[in-house]
């Protein structure tokens, strides 16, 4: 009995595949439209993932510079540095003395001679605070920054990568946007499949009538249409995956060149295994659902005459 059930489903599956392959152009067009529709949110998702991965690299350098008051002694600074190092949010602290800062500035700025003419070193001592790995999120950094500002020895505390925070906010916004877009395009896929299946149902009106007359249940009549919708959605999702992959392939060269100009080893990555699975599953599910909605509506209307 169970074996029979699976056999029936396998038969319907292959029958439906046969039906689809008998109208290759129409089937391909439907699959292509679904593919392009799904490729848009999938592509944006991959782009966002890559930007986020890139930002995560910068975030590791999300260090806080503490510019200290000029008149502190080395012992004071050592004490402060010790206190900060013990904070749970802090991984380690670098100390750049006034002399070291001056030397570095001379080397990097090219103003060496001009600085030599100053009668005293204008640069403050600096502590570079590296946050612990667990505290690199923008909000954690912000609260650490607030804590550090409370020390009286600190003249100015500055989050070096304030803009990373802004980037994160933008990425969050973009994610929401992709989500909304995805929802909209999912509805579009439902409509595309629904329309395709509607036409298929109307095309096979006579057959449906006959099957109803000889005692076919709605479940039985629905089945090939549901398979048809699911298969087309599934193939559409694979098409979307291929389109995204192709897009990345085209972009990977220029991105690599751009990254190497910045001395970065960044390479674009395609969506991971789970995301691919989710994309293909969503495609199949949307196909099934779109078909179910369309068939449900039109099957009621077709009664034997």
């Amino acid at each position: 009995m169970i074996r029979n059930y699976f056999l029936r489903h396998a038969q319907v599956f292959f029958y439906t595949l046969g039906q689809l392959s008998r109208t290759p152009v129409a089937s391909f067009l439907t699959v292509a439209v679904i593919g392009i529709t799904l490729a848009l949110p999938a592509g944006l998702y991959v782009a966002l993932e890559n930007v986020q991965r890139l930002a995560r690299g910068w975030e590791d350098n999300g260090q806080i510079s503490l510019f200290l008051k000029q008149d502190l002694s080395d012992a004071d600074i050592e004490k402060l540095s010790g206190k900060i190092r013990k904070l749970p949010a802090v991984s380690w602290v670098d100390y750049i003395s006034r002399q070291a800062a001056l030397a570095e500035f001379k080397k990097l700025s090219g103003f060496g001679d001009a600085l030599g003419s100053l009668d005293r070193n204008p640069l403050p001592p600096v502590l570079i605070v590296h946050p612990a790995g667990s505290h690199t999120r923008p909000d954690a950094l912000q609260s650490l920054l607030k804590d550090l500002r409370r020390y009286s020895e600190v003249e100015l505390a500055q989050l070096d990568l304030e803009w990373v925070r802004r980037l994160y906010a933008m990425l969050d916004l973009a994610k929401q946007g992709v989500l909304i877009l995805t929802a909209g395009l999912a509805v579009a896929v439902l409509l595309i499949i629904g329309n395709t299946i509607r036409l298929a149902v109307l095309n096979r009106r006579d057959e449906i009538e006959i099957i109803k007359l000889i005692g076919g249940t709605n479940t039985f009549i629905r089945r090939p249409f549901l398979y048809s919708g699911a298969i087309q959605g599934f193939l559409g999702a694979i098409m979307a995956w291929l389109l995204v992959g192709l897009g990345l392939l085209i972009l990977s060269g220029p991105v690599h060149r751009l990254a190497s100009l910045y001395g970065s080893l960044f390479v674009v990555e395609n969506m991971g295994f789970l995301a691919t699975l989710a994309l293909i599953g969503t495609g199949g599910l949307l196909g099934w659902l779109g078909s179910r909605l369309a068939v449900g509506r039109h099957l009621q209307a077709i009664e034997p005459r």
Partner: protein
């Protein structure tokens, strides 16, 4: 098998297709429903197959009350009835074999049973050698016989036919009638709507005549 008590059928347009029909057909009986076109023959068959519902009265078919039959039970109800149509209603994109196998597939018959039963039905109508052909390549009489094979492949206790010989010459009509008589002799209840007097004369079975939706004549059961 069929029991109608004061059955009325009025269409939404207000037209009374059937008026006060009282009818009892026993299991294993054979009967012809006749009458002018528009007399209500087809409507009667459509009530029996639950395509339409009676507006008044009580209709029992194969133990089911048609006025109370739930919509989702209709497919199961129809599996007990074989129907032969004037235009045979075959699927033109499928072979003779696949057409006849359709009721078995629809009802989820065992896979090993299907070929046996399809061939048995095709043998009964004398088309065993045409199973691989498509309906359009067959003659009108052959197409109708495929339709009959499809109607009986499930071995239904009740066989209905709506003008089964309407498009056929008299020789072919006789062949088709012989098939129905054969099913009748095997205990199947057979109900044929026709306005072909030749068919009725030859069969010598019960005749039920309708006139403007009313029962005009019922010859009663033939011994």
């Amino acid at each position: 098998m069929i029991e109608f008590t004061h059955v009325f059928k009025r269409f939404p347009s207000g037209f009374d297709a059937l008026r006060d029909i009282n009818l009892r057909i026993e299991a294993g009986e054979m009967a012809f429903i006749t009458g002018h076109s528009g007399a209500g023959k087809s409507t009667l068959l459509r009530l029996i197959t639950a395509i339409e519902r009676p507006t008044r009265g009580e209709a029992l078919v194969n133990g089911r009350n048609l006025t109370k039959l739930q919509r989702r039970r209709i497919p199961y109800f129809r599996r007990e009835i074989g129907v032969v149509f004037q235009d045979h209603k075959l699927l033109l994109d499928r072979t003779v074999y696949d057409n006849v196998a359709l009721p078995l597939i629809v009802t989820g018959a065992d896979d090993k049973e299907i070929p046996k039963r399809v061939r048995a039905a095709l043998e009964m109508v004398g088309l065993l050698d045409k199973e691989r052909m498509y309906p359009v390549t067959l003659s009108g009489g052959e197409q109708q016989r495929v339709g009959i094979a499809r109607a009986v492949v499930n071995k239904p206790p009740l066989l209905l036919a709506d003008e089964p010989t309407g498009n056929l010459d008299s020789k072919l009509s006789d062949e088709i009638l012989d098939l129905f008589l054969d099913f009748h002799h095997h205990g199947v209840t057979v109900l044929i709507a026709t306005h072909d007097p030749h068919l009725i004369d030859r069969a010598r079975q019960r005749v039920i005549e309708l006139n403007h939706g009313e029962l005009a004549l019922d010859s009663g059961a033939v011994a």
